[in-house]
């Protein structure tokens, strides 16, 4: 039995990947992640110089919502409301950061960038490749990006430009929404090697006493364990529509969540909120939970079960609808004696 997973041409020791964010913002975190036997690390997203202001974070930049303060720190539901935007250093710092991470790391290091015009995307991607990253993730769906940037024009051009400019694997990170399958297909058609589903979404919360939005008065990225339900759906839909691997991300806090993503067709699963809230040991705890499941089910590799739940989905026209039985559902299986009981 092994957690080994192939993804974008790499053989990862685990399907778990540290998602782009505060747990991949410093070179020393590479060691912390590797101690927990993580599969790969996606570095914090760096923005082009035009978005330099996104490197400065307001304080405080997070708010923990829906946290049950009376659960001894064991709340299973929460929302991480975050106004942390790009990598806090300059682009030169970021290239040095990639180099330093590569020197330390034994697992693949995936760079992550954000820009707007195609030339900037390509330029940054080339620098990420030159700095030694093993792959790149295009954060076209950042919750902090300008809403005026449109997928069809800006981001399709960006994917194309990056694909032409670099040789290493390119993943595209997409946000949840009705267009996500269409965007997955577009990413695949333009040469992406993988898609990451789904980014945090842009959210808002209001302080009813002050009668204004909380934190800094502006939209923030929201995520948390609840985010897995719509991501499950998007992963299942995408799995049927595209051939490139899917890296699922969103709300995974346990081995159970990761197994669900794999059953729905994901190759890898990116985690972050759980590491922030519960510490680095969450990674090894989740790995252990996956291994326990695999042992119980007699599975040797996660690849054996990948997409199994999607294959078991019922097509819409075959969903059994109410058919006149007095009761329906799995606990009320029809028995012959019911016939006489109910109908004489």
């Amino acid at each position: 039995m092994s957690l080994q997973t192939s993804f974008m041409g790499f053989t990862l020791q685990s399907p778990l990947i540290v998602a782009s964010g505060p747990a991949s913002h410093d070179v020393n975190q590479v060691e912390l992640a590797e101690q927990q036997k993580v599969g790969a690390i996606v570095l914090k997203t760096a923005c082009s110089d035009k978005y330099e202001h996104m490197r400065s974070w307001p304080r405080p930049r997070y708010k923990l919502l829906d946290w049950d303060k009376h659960m001894s720190g064991r709340s299973k539901q929460f929302t991480l409301y975050s106004y942390e935007q790009g990598y806090s250093g300059t682009l030169q710092d970021y290239w040095d950061f990639i180099k330093a991470c590569k020197e330390k790391a034994h697992v693949p290091i995936i760079g992550s960038i954000f820009a707007d015009v195609a030339n900037d995307w390509a330029e940054l991607a080339v620098k990420v490749e030159e700095s030694g990253a093993d792959a790149i993730e295009l954060d076209i769906s950042s919750p902090h990006r300008p809403g005026s940037l449109d997928f069809e024009t800006t981001f399709v051009a960006a994917i194309k430009a990056v694909r032409e400019a670099v040789k290493f694997p390119v993943a595209v990170k997409l946000a949840a929404g009705p267009d996500v399958v269409h965007q997955c297909v577009a990413a695949q058609d333009h040469g992406a090697d993988a898609v990451t589903l789904c980014n945090r979404i842009r959210g808002l919360d209001v302080d009813i006493e002050a009668q204004r939005p909380i934190l800094h008065g502006y939209f923030a990225g929201v995520g948390g364990p609840w985010a897995k339900y719509y991501t499950f759906r998007h992963v299942a839909e995408a799995q049927q529509a595209i051939k490139i691997p899917i890296s699922a991300t969103g709300g995974a806090i346990s081995g159970e969540d990761v197994i669900k993503y794999v059953l729905l067709g994901a190759s890898t699963v990116q985690i972050l909120s759980v590491i922030m809230i519960n510490g680095w040991k969450s990674i090894s705890r989740i790995s252990q939970e996956i291994e326990e499941y695999m042992e119980r089910k007699g599975i040797h590799s996660t690849e054996e079960i990948r997409g199994k739940a999607v294959a078991a989905m019922t097509p819409l026209d075959e969903v059994i609808r109410w058919s006149g039985e007095p009761k329906s559902g799995p606990r009320n299986v029809w028995k012959e004696e019911d016939m006489s009981k109910h109908f004489g």
Partner: protein, 117 residues
């Protein structure tokens, strides 16, 4: 298998290695904004594990009614705000930054002002 979120783990006193490259002497110029009101603290141990930056530890306070209290380590605190909502008695408070210094970095350039960043 039950997604055992929030299991408290021992906080360490080591400096959180993340968040380089912040500006040099960031902690000096931008003092911590999270402060524990020791009289209010009930020593429940919930804030040290929630701090991703290892900036909160429990310290002995023989005269305190709970004999211990949470303390914010200024050098490690990035002012992220996670701890405020983990405290059941609101003993961690936000001290607005009165250093008079602007947030490091640049303002939104005029060319982007009309976009909803």
């Amino acid at each position: 298998m039950n997604g055992d979120i929030g299991v408290p783990m021992n906080a360490t006193k080591t400096k959180y290695p993340g968040l380089n490259p912040l500006p040099p002497e960031f902690g000096k110029d931008y003092p911590p904004i999270a402060v524990v009101v020791e009289e209010k603290c009930i020593a429940c141990d919930r804030c040290p594990p929630i701090c991703f930056f290892d900036a909160i530890v429990m310290e002995e306070r023989p005269k305190h009614s709970y004999k211990r209290t949470a303390v914010v380590i200024g050098d490690n605190c990035t002012g992220c705000g996670l701890c405020f909502d983990a405290c059941p008695v609101d003993a961690i408070i936000w001290v607005p930054d009165k250093s008079g210094l602007s947030v490091p970095g640049k303002k939104i350039p005029p060319s982007l002002e009309d976009t909803d960043l």
